[in-house]
Amino acid sequence: MKKLKLFAICAVVCFACTLIGLMYFSEVSLFAGRRLSGDKSFFIHYYAFVHYFAAGSLVFFIISVYNVYKKWNAKSAQEKKEITLKFRSNAVRERRIILLVILSFFLYGLTINLALDFDLIPKLSFLIIAGFVAFYVGGVAVFFGIYRKNSKRKLENAIQAQETISLKLRSIRSQLNPHFMFNALSSVQRLMNKNDIPAANHYLSMFADLTRKVLNTGEQELISLEDELKIQEAYLQMEQLRFGFRYEVKVGEDINIANTEIPVILLQPFVENAVKHGVAPLQQNGLILVQVNKQGDNLVLSVTDNGKGFDRKIAGQKDDSLGLKLSEERIALLNRVHPDQPAILIIYSKQTGTTITIMLINLFS
């Protein structure tokens, strides 16, 4: 909103400048026609033309300096990254600006010299020069404003697309976490060595199934609730083999899980945290509850464990809280892309357990 206001002011100022400039322009032509003959009038236009370059360049120059200043002043790393990206896309243009500045200073000097030679300076009133400058600055500013807004929008889209991809890749990588994979295979090895062949077969094919499903989600944005729950159940079963906890998945009867689509890999990080930080130390006494319910138009997903809970401040400093951070970033991104169907994340942790709730607002509307 603030940006729009700024742009509007800019446009009005530019328009005014252009108007004033046009007025003066007509006066100059008249003036030039009346007072100056032949080649000398050419130099007035030449002189003004140089002013155009000088003024235009100055605007570009100030903007690039402003960009650098903004980057230098940026608080968060995210902000810095965005400005850098913006800056980079402008790199070509900035090189052109520098060239323009040098060129116009050169031309400016040349013109002054020529004008002095022809004794023109005293004859040009200050107002005429100012008029030219105002006109061209105005024109350039309007053009630049439009261009800038356009490129900014393109850039925002590009940044968003890039973020979506990188976050998804990171989530997939966390889902095919090497710790999980090798430990799962290790569990299967134990079944083999115990001569429990049916169980070994069962878990090995489940592992293959899980891997396959996760690899396939790489290409899609949405997944049916049915498939997501299957993935989570396979994951929980593999981990159950390692740690021996119990788990339960409860889905509200009024939900058609095959036809309800949710963003991919939304639930996974929380289920993984519930296993890793929640129930793993409890072994057989661990309990995980995954619930899916419909509340009006909203879909409510929740993961509850009976582990010893965590303190966000302490957990935030560790590397292994990455899953949580990733999820928060991802939800923030989803909310930016689909502001009409926002997701809300609620974390409730105490010493006897943790509940994480994701509300998908207006999913059924």
Binding site: F182, S186, Q189, K194, P281
Partner: protein, 251 residues
């Protein structure tokens, strides 16, 4: 020979799996105790004085390395076990210690136990563990020492004392800053992987160079590096761009 061993792993399944494998393939191993966390592991080691430890690196709260830190003198052998831990494995390799990856490869298990048995029999002092603990303590900040197993001994050499390494069949010849040469019974490939993060570059199939000691790039016969000790190291054609990039980055 009877090797008295302790298995330390936070997952009972892994302990069970290893026990089954040891029973079946390594009858000389006797499991005197098992432990599922660092503290009970330390207590068990004090109580049983084992010959050999099967030690899982990753455990919640305290790691396998923390178990070792509790002992001033380590008079037992260790076979590390991990599912996936790049930093831990790097540390272990730097000290030329043995480790197994999950799921356990039976051939590797047998080889590791064979090696451990020889060490227990000859009662070698376990200075590799000290090197390992130092490596972990310094946490990548200090310049680590690398263990170089020769035919007679294991040498511990500061990484920045190595000028370059040269392959000769399955051995590697290390040239040190003091002019000394050490012949190590491991391939250049292994060291190339280990030392990559310490500013070493493979210029050639049989040459590994510490970039700190590069004096100049000679243009003769398709490129060579002149080192500060005035040896010339050839650069193979396929590595030329890689070496150039590395040198530019090191500037």
């Amino acid at each position: 020979m009877n090797i008295r061993s302790i298995i330390i792993d936070d997952e009972p399944n892994n302990i069970e799996n290893l026990q089954i494998l040891l029973n079946q393939y390594c009858p000389e191993i006797t499991i005197v105790a098992t432990a599922m966390n660092a503290d009970s592991a330390i207590a068990a080691i004090r109580a049983h004085q084992p010959d050999l430890l099967f030690l899982d690196i990753q455990m919640p709260e305290k790691s396998g390395f923390d178990v070792l830190k509790a002992f001033a003198v380590i008079n037992f052998e260790i076979i590390f076990i991990t599912a996936y831990d790049q930093y831990g494995i790097q540390a272990i390799k730097f000290s030329a210690l043995d480790y197994l990856l999950k799921p356990i490869n039976i051939t590797e298990l047998i080889t590791a136990i064979e090696k451990a048995r020889n060490k227990i029999l000859t009662k070698q002092k376990n200075s590799s563990i000290e090197n390992l603990l130092e490596y972990i303590k310094s946490g990548n900040k200090e310049i680590p020492k690398i263990a170089l197993p020769t035919l007679q001994e294991i040498r511990y050499v500061r990484v920045d004392d190595i000028i370059h390494c040269e392959a000769s069949n399955n051995y590697t010849l290390f040239y040190l800053q003091n002019g000394e040469k050490i012949l190590v019974c491991k391939t250049l490939k292994e060291f190339s992987d280990l030392l990559r993060s310490h500013n070493f570059i493979r210029t050639h199939q049989s040459h590994l160079v510490n970039l700190h000691f590069v004096n100049s790039w000679l243009k003769e016969d398709g490129g060579a590096l002149l080192l500060t000790d005035s040896t010339k190291i050839p650069i193979s054609r396929q590595n030329r761009e890689l070496v150039k990039d590395a040198l530019n980055k090191a500037l």
